[in-house]
Amino acid sequence: MVFLKRRPPRETKRPSREAKRPSRAQTANRTKAEAPRAPVESSVRRLWLVGILFSILFVALWYRAFELQVIMGEDLAAKATRQHTAKETLVGVRGSILDRNGNYLARSVDSSSIWANPQLVQDKATTVAVLSKILEVEPGRVEKLLDPRKRFVWIVRKVNDTVAKQVKEASLPGIGLSPEFERIYPYKTLAGQLLGFVNVDDKGIEGLEKALEETLSASRIRQIIQRDAVGRRLGSTGGDISDLRGDDIRLTIDSQVQFIAEEALAEGVEKYGAKWGGCLVVDVPTGDILAWAQYPFFDPNKPGDFTEAVRKNRLATDALEQGSTIKSFLIASALEEKVVTPTTEIFCENGKWKFGSYTIHDTHSYGALLVSKILHVSSNIGVAKIGFKLGAERYYNYLRRLGFGQVTDLPLAGQSRGILRPASKWHEIDTATASFGQSFSATLAQMAQAYLYLANDGVDKKLRLVINDPASQNQEDGSTDGKPVAEKGKDAERIFSPETMRQVRAMLREVVEEEGGTGKAARIPGIIVGGKTGTAQKADRSGKYGSGRVGSFVGMLPINQPRYLVCVLMDEPTKNQYGGIIAAPVFRDVALRTMAYHGLLPDSDDPLVKAVAEKEQQRRKKAFGKNEAAKTPGAENATAQAETDLQTAAGPVSVEQKPQRRVMRRVVSSKPSATVPDVIGLGVSKAAEVFSAQGVVPEFQGKGGFVVRQTPTPGSPWPENKQGCVLWLEDTSI
């Protein structure tokens, strides 16, 4: 030890033995001024003793440091590293679903979820009280969640901006917020069943959300991050989650047409007390599905509020015997096979035809009818006889080529193939019943596909629902108007000749336009419409036909060169059962308004047509705000006032609204404003709502839950075409 050489000289250190224990007398003898030698000496010895003792302790502790740092160092360091690092999963944003005009039908927005580490909660009573007040839940529920044995529990997933802010500001120890994404469907019930919904983990579990999961779903990466004891990450953020974004899907759906179809359908279903109804609107030249409506409505924002029966996408999943609407295909097949011509005469047995042990009825009795008239009056006996002439085998082949008995090419989950047994398994009677649409079943989507061939001159044209699906091969450039999508080689494949199609469409025209036709309720002044009614008997569970009916109408217009195909179906109507009465008016309403919306209505003196035309034109201007209104400057301000009801009816989510099953959705009403509304300080979703109520899609800058700045400044007039509105977001509570 280096210090020893500084030791005092030896002789001073050695205390004399006899001095060690001085007697009282000795001590007393000494004068006070004279320092007692003996204690001085002995204390020096003890000082050395204590010095050595302390030195030994220091060296022992030094060894302990060696043990901890060198011998156990690696082990302890590994344990420390384990707590310094955490596995983190980065998840990107799920892709949006847009309609053909770029309106968001489904999108993911920033949201916060509240979690707790119960072990870090300091004052449980206060924590429970504060949380339950902010979240508006029973204190008991929160208390139950804060199980002190756990290190992580979700308190509530995906809360709104205001709640998140309050929780953050309460800054309770052990309570944290993590960013998540919430799936919102801004138009609420619009196309609800088609869109489907996602679960709390952002996984699509119904509808398009499920079917297009691969495209829409965001990527996720796992990475090891360094963190401090309060869980904050250290250093630069590991990954850019914008790379992880799921792909957007643009649908062929036009939300305005969708709204028209839904509104008309809802009215019809309610009026005739049907169990449910469906309506499809197809743009014939492109095969684009413009509307995919189903009533009762389903709001994917709140899937839990609806039963499975309402949630399911029946237009694709429910196969029904379609009835007389099938007759068009039988006649087309027979004409194509030249089994009959339009002028062939068929004897219709005066309304009652005994066939083996079966009897086939017509609603009216007819004698001899021309083939062209059979569709007109929808004679079952007539088509049955033609069916026998054609033969089961040939008829079956046409049905297959038309798409029956197989799922459509549409990217939908849980599609039904329908039931179409091979011709070899048909009994004789099946040929007859299949001719008028019984004994085999099809979905409304299959019906639309089959009729699309008829409307398209027999060309094999597929329905289209997705304009761009980056995940699949058939990516198309998304031409949205009129002209058919690129002529491909296989387009040349025909099912029917144009001549046959012309003949069938002429018959369909008669169904609507000629006296005595079943579909005269579908007439639209100024436009020649063609279509076919259907009233099918429904088989009950045991397979016997009961009183249940399916009323339907499939129509196209203008019939000479169809632009739109509209299919309407109502299941189990209670007030009336005939497709011509219950479904044809829905068709008429939808078709008329769709034509008007697209500006395709001819000038007409008919007051109804005029009113509809005007109304829908305004809707169109609004829908295409930036594009169309630009062509007629000045017009938008005047018209904006007039037609807000429709616009806002289809408007985005309003928080207060309850899910509705009532017919009309004219609920949200925010007054149109001539100036830019003030949304500073509002939550992002509320701000977006305010703007969309004005028909404006604002652009968002930055990240966060609250609007901190906006251009143009609130109160100033709208910029030209209401474009260029920018809202800056920030997480103001930080």
Binding site: P36, S42, R46, V50, G51, A65, Q69, V230
Partner: protein
């Protein structure tokens, strides 16, 4: 060999080596306080330099106190013994009165403006001054029981009692240890010491086991990993820090454990951060420095001719050295955590100021004595 019992000894140079090692330790302390507290300070005070700045201020005040004590005539210092004792008792009583500041259920602090005073630190100095005076001037009665044992034990017991009321169990233990070593060196009969040590040990055992919170916390050090989430948390985090340091350390400022994992990183557990950032090498240098400090202090005591001087030097050295030993032992999980700071290194005004005063006293004493 100038032996002048009246006190007007020839004054030599103070022990510059002791001063040098002290300043080195203080400088190391400032560096480590800055490193260990920066993030906590940034978080809690919105100023990363908050604790560092305050520690610099304490160091300056401590330096002035050191100089004042160094150059104050020894007779004056010794005369201040009784006033100092009275002041310390007053402070201890005020501390447990409603005027004291309660932290984690214990009242150990006195508020003085923006600063807090820990009376315990000053109690240690005044106690050893008293004991040194007693042992140094009453050698003729030291070996007796009634006159030699009762007074110092009574004085210590009164202070311990006030500390236990705070409650500051660790402080009472430290005062008892000071008494023990002072008596050991001062010449109290070993049989008395042995018996009193037994009694103190028994009382301590009762105190520990009587209060569940105390026993849980105090016994956690025997296997901190078994209760790592709870009573052993701080110890475990300290061990993680030391282990992470390894031989050469993770580098100055790079400690991860100080990022809110390790409680009291800049105060009682600053040695753990030092060990993490500078490794076994850095810790060894610290040990060497502290041993050097200890032996310089001990030599000063040994060289004193007058018993009171010698015992004063020893007692003052004991105040610092006991803290050092206990702090090391706690950080390395050899002793229960009891809130003992590392002199010169840990953040804290009371600790740094009293440590500097101790060094001032030692330097003052170093000017006398044999060469």
């Amino acid at each position: 060999m100038a032996e002048s019992p009246t006190g007007n000894q020839r004054l030599g140079q103070p022990d510059w080596w002791l001063l040098a090692i002290t300043l080195l330790l203080v400088a190391t302390g400032l560096l480590m306080v800055f490193s260990a507290s920066g993030i906590v300070a940034d978080r809690s005070q919105a100023d990363a330099y908050y604790y560092f700045k305050r520690q610099v201020l304490f160091a300056c005040v401590g330096g002035i106190a050191l100089a004042v004590v160094l150059y104050t005539p020894r007779a004056v210092i010794y005369k201040m013994l009784y006033p100092a004792l009275i002041i310390v008792f007053c402070l201890l009583i005020i501390t447990i009165s409603p005027l004291g500041i309660s932290v984690n259920g214990a009242k150990r602090w006195l508020g003085v403006g923006a600063f807090r005073l820990q009376a315990m630190e000053f109690a240690k100095i005044s106690l050893v001054l008293y004991l040194a005076y007693f042992m140094g001037t009453k050698q003729e009665v030291v070996k007796t029981f009634d006159k030699g044992v009762i007074p110092p034990f009574l004085m210590t017991a009164m202070m311990c009692f006030l500390l236990l009321l705070q409650p500051d169990f660790g402080g009472a233990v430290i005062l008892s240890l000071l008494l023990f070593f002072m008596c050991l060196v001062g010449g109290t009969r070993l049989i008395y010491l042995f018996i009193s040590a037994l009694l103190a040990g028994g009382a301590g055992y009762l105190l520990i086991t009587k209060a569940a919170y105390r026993s849980r916390r105090l016994l956690a050090f025997r296997d901190p990993f078994a209760v790592a989430d709870d009573a052993g948390y701080q110890l475990v985090q300290g061990l993680y820090a030391l282990g992470s340091g390894g031989i050469s350390g993770v580098g100055l400022g790079a400690s991860k454990q100080k990022l809110f994992y390790l409680p009291e990183a800049h105060t009682d557990f600053i040695v753990a951060v030092l060990g993490e950032e500078t490794g076994f090498i850095g810790l060894s240098l610290l040990f060497a420095g502290i041993l050097f400090f200890f032996w310089r202090g001990l030599l000063i005591a040994i060289r004193q001719e007058r018993l009171q001087d010698r015992f004063t030097a020893f007692g003052i050295l004991l105040v610092v050295a006991l803290s050092m030993l206990l702090n090391f032992a706690v950080v390395m999980s050899w002793a229960p955590p009891k809130g003992v700071p590392m002199p010169f290194l840990s953040y804290g005004g009371s600790s740094l100021l009293t440590s500097m005063i101790c060094v001032g006293l030692l330097l003052n004493l170093s000017r006398t004595g044999k060469a």
